[in-house]
């Protein structure tokens, strides 16, 4: 009996090691490529460990020269940040009262919520054409702010759903007490609901930022210069050239992944909790 248990434990450890290798190796390779010289990356067969550590790719991406790759990259970094933060900020302001209504007055208004969640399931391709024409007509193409507004369409339904679940968890009696004390609607939300909601809001905002950071389709359609191109677009462009500098592409990829990876690892518990609340009571 004891021997059988030991064999299964050994197998489990082997599986654990294989899993770790599976998770780490592709990204580790990206890291290695980012610090290899292009000579090392174009030998055949491959040199797995670079002859010397070469940070020139990172240096190039962080050098701000006119029309250089560095310029495009740094602008994209700025655009990604402003777009994501603007989109999440607008969504949060719009979402709190809406989620409160969804939670406190169920009934016909939940139809609106269902519709909102439903839009989450639709492919963006189904409404990007009119959006494109609208942005062209109002001269709003290639503009971080309009891209942020478009991102609200992805973020809003998702947030409405998660935040409504959290408001459901706040006892209505607390609000009733405030009504008796003569507090108005605005004060009730600001003084009672909002403080209790803060942790959930933080999680949702974090997830929304990562979603906006990740978005490619709309950014591809609606941006075309360094004024508003976001990181995913710039990185995809870097890689689509015929003469590719592999180290440079890898360095761009590493830099673009760093913020979500760091955020994800630091706030892992909160994120998973968010995923679960969004999930369980669907």
């Amino acid at each position: 009996m004891r021997k059988r248990i030991r064999i299964s434990t050994v197998l489990q450890y082997i599986a654990l090691v294989l899993l770790s290798v599976f998770i780490i190796s592709p990204f580790l390779w990206l890291l290695i490529m980012a610090i290899s010289s292009s000579a090392d990356l174009t030998t055949k067969p491959l040199r797995w460990i670079p002859a010397q550590v070469d940070f020139s790719s990172f240096k190039e991406l962080f050098t701000l020269g006119a029309n250089s790759r560095g310029e495009v990259f740094l602008y994209a970094l700025r655009n990604s940040l402003t777009t994501a933060i603007t989109a999440v900020f607008i969504s949060m302001i719009a979402i709190i009262p809406a989620a409160w209504v969804f939670s406190r007055f169920p009934g016909r208004k939940n139809l609106v919520l269902s519709l909102a969640i439903f839009t989450f399931m639709l492919p963006p391709i189904a409404y990007c054409i009119p959006l494109y024409k609208m942005l062209v007509r109002f001269n709003l193409m290639d503009n971080s702010f309009s891209l942020a507004i478009v991102y609200c369409t992805i973020i809003l339904p998702f947030c409405a759903w998660l935040i409504k679940e959290s408001i459901d968890g706040i006892p209505y009696e607390l609000e009733e007490a405030a009504i008796i004390d003569g507090a108005g609607l605005f004060h009730r939300i600001r003084d009672i609901v909002l403080p209790l909601l803060l942790p959930a809001l933080g999680t949702v905002a974090l997830m929304a930022v990562i979603m906006a950071w990740d978005e490619y389709f709309y950014a591809l359609l609606f941006t075309n210069s360094k004024n508003s191109m976001t990181l995913p677009v710039v990185i995809a462009n870097l890689a689509s050239g015929r003469q590719s500098n592999y180290g440079l592409i890898a360095a761009g990829g590493v830099l673009a992944s760093a913020p979500p990876i760091i955020l994800g690892m630091v706030f892992q518990r909160a994120l998973i909790k968010g995923l679960i609340t969004g999930g369980v009571k669907e």
């Binding site: 998770i23 990204f27 492919p123 963006p124 054409i129 009119p130 959006l131």
Partner: protein, 276 residues
């Protein structure tokens, strides 16, 4: 907020429906005219479109099945009392956090026909005797993309299932042990029913994402070689923005929406049956 949603989703959706009955072009050179259902009827005889729907379907089924199986297995493994699971749990967030585009490009570099890591690895281990161009061979490209997608997204399923496993009531498991249930029986009768709700959520999320797949394929192959990886979203994108035929593009998009709604309704129906 309802107004905002109405403007940015409702109105465009309505417009798409309108466009789908016209022969509108992207730049509006000619005034669009009403063409009735002809866009829809021609869609069903358009081989490219039908093939793209099939590719989206194959992609969706393959990645969701694999991600659910691998994700659940990983969650079960990480729930065991082993040393080092804490570290691996933190690692698990890595694939999820890597942006989709970076993931696509990372795998493109790995699959590179001349200097890619995969070719070099397989060659040095003597599994292959000459380098393979993974993403430009018609029979391997889709599979290669599917592997890349699985790497990124199995972790989401694993995290959701793992969280639900940790909420598994311990006394139940203990009671079953005392009653003499073996590991497999405990899994089927206690663990599995407990994790199924969260597994379903993970599945719905993944199916929705997988069927409308665009970016990972677009960056890895742009739909090639020979359109063997052209998903429905890529096909419609090309129709509307490359060929600038937004009338028929909108019609294709509406059909795709109908396809997705049917998929979700079937799924919900199945769930209800099981619930009873």
């Amino acid at each position: 907020m309802i107004a905002v949603m109405g403007i940015v989703i409702g109105y465009p959706l309505f417009q798409t429906v309108l466009y789908s009955f016209t022969n509108a072009d992207l730049l509006g050179i000619e005034a669009p005219s009403f063409v009735g259902f002809s866009n829809f009827t021609s869609a069903f005889s358009d081989r490219g479109f039908l093939q793209s729907l099939r590719i989206s379907g194959i992609f969706g089924i393959a990645v969701v099945t694999a991600e659910v199986l691998i994700g659940t297995a990983v969650a079960l493994l990480l729930n065991e009392p082993l040393r080092g699971t804490g570290i691996v749990r933190v690692l698990l967030i890595l694939p999820w956090a890597v942006p989709t585009i970076v993931n696509a490009i990372m795998w493109r570099l790995i699959y590179n026909p001349e200097y890619g890591a995969l070719n070099s690895l397989l060659y040095q281990l003597n599994f292959i005797d000459k380098y393979i161009s993974w993403l430009s061979s018609a029979d391997k490209a889709l599979g290669a993309i599917i592997v890349a997608d699985i790497w990124k997204n199995f972790s989401l399923v694993a995290m959701i299932v793992l969280a639900s496993l940790q909420a598994l009531p311990e006394p139940q498991v203990e009671a079953a042990k005392i009653d003499g249930a073996n590991g497999w029986q405990r899994f089927v009768n206690i663990t599995l029913p407990h994790i199924i709700p969260s597994l379903q959520v993970a599945m719905v999320l993944r199916i929705i994402e997988a069927v409308k797949v665009f970016d990972i394929i677009y960056v890895m192959t742009k739909g090639g070689p020979a359109n063997k990886t052209r998903s429905a979203s890529i096909f419609i994108y090309q129709e509307a923005f490359t060929n600038s035929r937004i009338g028929s593009g909108s019609a294709f998009a509406m059909i795709m929406v109908a396809f997705i709604i049917a998929l979700i309704l079937t799924y919900l129906r199945l769930l209800q049956k099981r619930g009873r």
